[in-house]
Symmetry: C2
Subunit: 340 residues, 2 copies
DNA sequence: ACAGCAGATTACATCGTTGGAACGAATTTG
DNA sequence: CAAATTCGTTCCAACGATGTAATCTGCTGT
């Protein structure tokens, strides 16, 4: 920068002023400086800027696992939203582990970013005060409500209710709630189970506890495993509301291996609208959770917090719009039978 | 830091020395300082450290697209390898666009990271000098060989040859090379086609150009689209060597829709061993490219470049070990027929 | 008892940038 | 025409850490 100043025959501070687009610079001066910058290939030292101004234009995104398609697509949406606004994203994988999440939240790296988007998995409502850190933060996901921070999420209950109704409308009545976490009221699992129950209630159907299948982890292998057990148990069902797409895809694969036809014998709908659902055999009906809207809103809210001024003092809540995506796995078959 | 020094009754520099584990500190002093750090909850300012020491412990990973499962899994592997060594990763998505890649490589953000892992897609051999930037860099992928930088990749030719032989051993002789880029010698497509040709030659079979199916992009939808055209054209084949898993999955879906049985009518093998291949119907045989080894090696090489000392001056090349993963899509059927 | 020396600590300058006050020049005002 | 105001620029200090060199301890050996 010193060299640029010399080349343009101005002071260092004027160069800085030009770069930061301060008011009150003569057009002639500006052009001379820009020319010198160009000629010398000058690039600002971001560490120095960060030190002096307290801003790094880096935000951190804490997610459980990038191998999980939902989070990969979320990360993509967040990075795109951030990039549009001149920020870059550091991704930190927590594995959904409580200890690791706390370590990240309270680690020194937090001091090098302007803010954090934290996809909560390891912490829960009681830990709300643990996320009260000096770095601006916006929460994603369902595990902490009414905490001290802004919160962006999807309409879990309503979406799950809509998914369930989607199957009911197609004449299915014995529906598995696939992926429940018993004893959990909050969190995606709890909320989605609640939506399932509401849909049944509205349809005048009774909630049967044995149809709520507990699956702790929501990877494909867990879905496959759990469906294998269901089939062995001989439980009768003609529809599946899977609490995410991976579970649904794993389960679907096992049902097909067992000779069940989808959607003729069993209709199934998932959650998240990951890319893969458009290419499975059959294609999987699912809930589009409004991922882009979630990412955009979260980034905007975070930037408002960082700027300081634009945002109200109180924590905000935002729920994105969802959509039911109807595909082959819940198509209306000409005729259908029940299963074992 | 000032406060810590005061609390421990030492100078600021001693605090710095303790943190950086300098030699020659009395155990008593060290403990007093550590206690003060603990008590005051001190955390170093990484921008300041970065400014003074020139190191930020951040590395950048440039990839085309995080929504692509291969790159999501690669990013995960890189982040895990980096995390083990105390580095964090900034991910930059290039979309595989030449302009965007150059912009990232020459942007000011490069000056805030210690090094870059660059998964080349937009540039090619002739651009080798454009990647000669002041920041340490390690290349991933196939498009630039013998450039000025270290390079980590997989054994494309050998792996493709092995994949092709895998099908030949199972009695298939009319094999599509699915995902070729005509007129491209270098790059994954060119190398994999070469491996395919070598396998045919070794088996005494003739290379038939119409069996090399050109597919420019390697997403699932492109695979589906291309396979649709192949089926319409009436080209006869009984095996497919797809140049990545997404292409294979897209193609598989279309073939099944058309009533072809896999592996009975057509056997198919992909490339990359993405998670999804374990859960498709049928499960997809593929090539494990040695992703973890690639990521680990690339990170280690980059860190060596950053440290400066450990590495030889000349650019290094490294090829990871691959494995053929045999699954249902190439299982040996009791009997099989040809297709239209 | 004192020079000599190594180990432990400190003072000071510095990394590259930006905020704020001060300054000189140009312009407007009474 | 002098004084007040605005504009454009410069000077200086500071952000929080670390490298270098200097300093201060306490110990050894003669």
């Amino acid at each position: 920068m010193r060299d640029v100043a010399q080349a343009a025959d101005v002071s260092i501070k004027t160069v800085s002023n030009v770069i930061n687009e301060h008011p009150n610079i003569k057009t002639g001066t500006r052009e001379r400086v820009l020319l010198a910058i160009e000629k010398l290939g000058y690039q600002p030292n971001l560490s120095a800027r960060g030190l002096r101004s307290g801003r790094t234009d880096v935000i951190s995104l804490i997610i459980p696992d990038l191998k999980n398609a939902y989070f990969a697509e979320l990360a993509d949406a967040v990075m795109t939203a951030a990039s549009k606004r001149g920020k870059v994203v550091i991704i930190e994988q927590s594995g959904g582990l409580r200890e690791r999440e706390l370590e990240i939240l309270h680690g020194p790296r937090m001091r090098m970013v302007d803010g954090v988007l934290y996809s909560v998995l390891g912490l829960s409502q009681e830990d709300a005060d643990l996320i009260d850190i000096p770095t601006p933060i916006v929460l994603l996901g369902e595990r902490i409500f009414h905490g001290p921070a802004d919160h962006v999420t999807m309409q879990n209950i309503e979406a799950s209710q809509a998914a369930t109704e989607h199957l009911l409308q197609r004449g299915r009545t014995k529906l598995l709630a696939f992926g429940a976490h018993r004893n959990e009221v909050i969190g995606s699992a709890g909320l989605r189970l609640e939506g399932y129950r509401r849909a049944l209630r509205n349809a005048g159907l009774e909630y049967r506890d044995e149809l709520a299948i507990d699956v702790q982890l929501w990877h494909r292998s867990d879905g496959a495993q759990a469906m294998r057990q269901v089939l062995e148990s001989g439980l009768a069902f003609d529809g599946v509301v899977a609490f995410n797409d991976s579970l649904a895809l794993g389960a679907m694969r096992v049902m097909q291996d067992a000779g069940l036809k989808i959607p003729e014998d069993v209709a199934i709908i998932g959650f998240d609208d990951i890319d893969e659902t458009r290419y499975s055999l059959p294609t999987l009906s699912t809930i589009d959770p409004g991922r882009r809207e979630i990412a955009e809103t979260a980034v905007v809210m975070l930037l408002e917090r960082i700027e300081g001024a634009a945002a109200p003092a109180a924590a905000r809540e935002f729920e994105a719009e969802f959509k039911v995506i109807s595909r082959e796995s819940t198509a209306i078959p000409s005729s259908h039978g029940a299963n074992a």
